[in-house]
């Protein structure tokens, strides 16, 4: 009775919603996107290669659905304006002891990244796809994925005050 394909999709729904939220920043639209994704997944089930990762395949369907949606209507108009997202305060990383503060700062910092940088952070650092898998999801050359990802992480580190200088000054060897 149980269909492993469906079970795997259900298990991955939270990840799909997370990615959808990152793309569209609206819970309602995110759920619509996830629903479209699962419908397309079943419709094109025969094309899924079981030797590849189902999660990467689903993420690709979701992203394509998002692109279709933004082309087709003006959904983007309902996005949260980037200026409304609280700017990540630049904090002194060496003094941050409070988990919640850092978590919030990191969430805000990621939210303020340009969309194409957020995508690669989500797919690679969060969903743990390989560079190659992420390139396939995004339909982008792997070199582009890597340069975007590097820029995104350097920007993120700077927003969070863990830039290279901070790293060096907190080096416990001191005195160097």
């Amino acid at each position: 009775m149980s269909d492993p394909f469906a079970d795997d999709i259900i298990a991955f729904l939270p990840n799909l919603r997370r990615f959808a939220l990152s793309l569209c920043r609206s819970a309602d639209i995110a759920d619509d996107l996830v629903q479209i994704t699962v419908e397309r997944a079943f419709a094109s089930r025969a094309q899924f290669d079981p030797d590849t990762r189902l999660d990467a395949w689903l993420l690709r369907i979701l992203r394509n659905a998002w692109i279709d949606m933004t082309r087709r209507d003006k959904t983007r108009g309902t996005q949260i304006n980037i200026d409304d997202v609280p700017e990540a305060s630049v904090v002194d990383g060496s003094r941050v002891a409070e988990t919640a503060i850092m978590l919030k700062a990191a969430q805000s910092a990621i939210a303020t990244l340009p969309e194409n940088q957020r995508d690669v952070i989500l797919l690679i650092c969060v969903e743990e796809l390989s560079y190659k898998e992420a390139a396939e999801v995004l339909g982008t050359p792997i070199g582009t994925v890597m340069s975007r990802l590097a820029r995104a992480r350097i920007a993120l580190a700077e927003k969070l005050g863990i830039n290279r200088e901070a790293a060096r000054s907190s080096d416990s060897r001191g005195g160097i």
Partner: protein, 256 residues
């Protein structure tokens, strides 16, 4: 000596376990002498862990029931369901580091950076290629003499490695996931002492934490912040009490 140059993309690929082996080996060597390089690497190690931690809560939001129901309805209506092949089950790659591990957040940030600084501390490390069990793992030990010492040397005893470096296991313990771990001190030939914790993972020792703990000027003191970082790590990883020497010997025996 000419130091090879590494691009941001290469450092990032190393942090992500995607740098090819030859370049990773070259980077291992370069990191030994180049603190600036280690700082650049730390940015990529830290941002990966931080991104993952920051977006973890989004996974715990309840999924609307209608979405789950929609999948079930689609499955029920799907003509291919009856011929379901078992292969579909393995289509998911194992979720790497799926378990909640000691979040980097629980460590003072300086310690988080020291995780990468461990690379600069002169341990010979191979990049993590995924499959690790902890979000803060950065590397696997590859120096055979060091591995041999961790596999055999009782805590409290020191041995000199061929290079002139010295290693002394401090304690052996099981972490919250019942993984065998060893805390050890590693004295580099240049006078820097590294305090480190390595845990067993698939037959290898993965470095969990490495802190350069004394300055190369010979002062030889261990800053309190190093030990605070270590203690924070031990707390966060739910480390058990050190094993007795007898239990330690048994545990190490099982590695062989």
């Amino acid at each position: 000596m000419q130091t090879p140059e590494f691009t941001d993309e290469e450092l990032m690929a190393y942090a992500d376990g995607e740098l090819d082996q030859a370049r990773a080996n070259a980077l291992d060597l370069a990191l030994v002498d180049d603190a600036g390089l280690a700082d650049r690497l730390a940015v990529f190690v830290d941002t990966r862990a931080i991104s993952r931690e920051a977006l973890e809560p989004a996974l715990h939001q309840p999924v609307p029931a209608h979405l789950v129901q929609r999948v079930r309805d689609l499955a029920a209506a799907d003509p291919t369901e009856s011929e379901t092949d078992d292969e579909t089950v393995v289509a998911f790659a194992p979720r790497r580091r799926a378990e909640a591990q000691a979040p980097i957040w629980r460590l003072p940030l300086a310690a988080g950076l020291a995780l990468a600084a461990g690379v600069t501390a002169g341990l010979y490390l191979a990049p993590q290629s995924g499959g690790g069990s902890g979000s803060i793992e950065i590397a696997t030990l590859v120096d055979p003499a060091l591995i041999d010492a961790l596999n055999t040397l009782p805590s409290g005893e020191a041995t000199m490695l061929g290079t002139g470096a010295r290693i002394e296991p401090v304690a052996t313990f099981l972490d919250g996931a019942q993984t065998l771990c060893r805390e050890f001190e590693f004295d580099r030939t240049d006078g820097i002492t590294v305090i480190s914790v390595a845990c067993q993972n698939a037959g290898q020792w993965d470095v969990q934490l490495a802190i350069a703990a004394s300055s190369p000027d010979g002062a030889g003191y261990v800053p309190a912040s190093s030990l605070e970082a270590l203690n924070a790590y031990l707390t966060a990883s739910d480390a058990g009490l050190p094993l007795s020497l007898e239990a330690e010997a048994q545990a190490l025996e099982q590695l062989r």
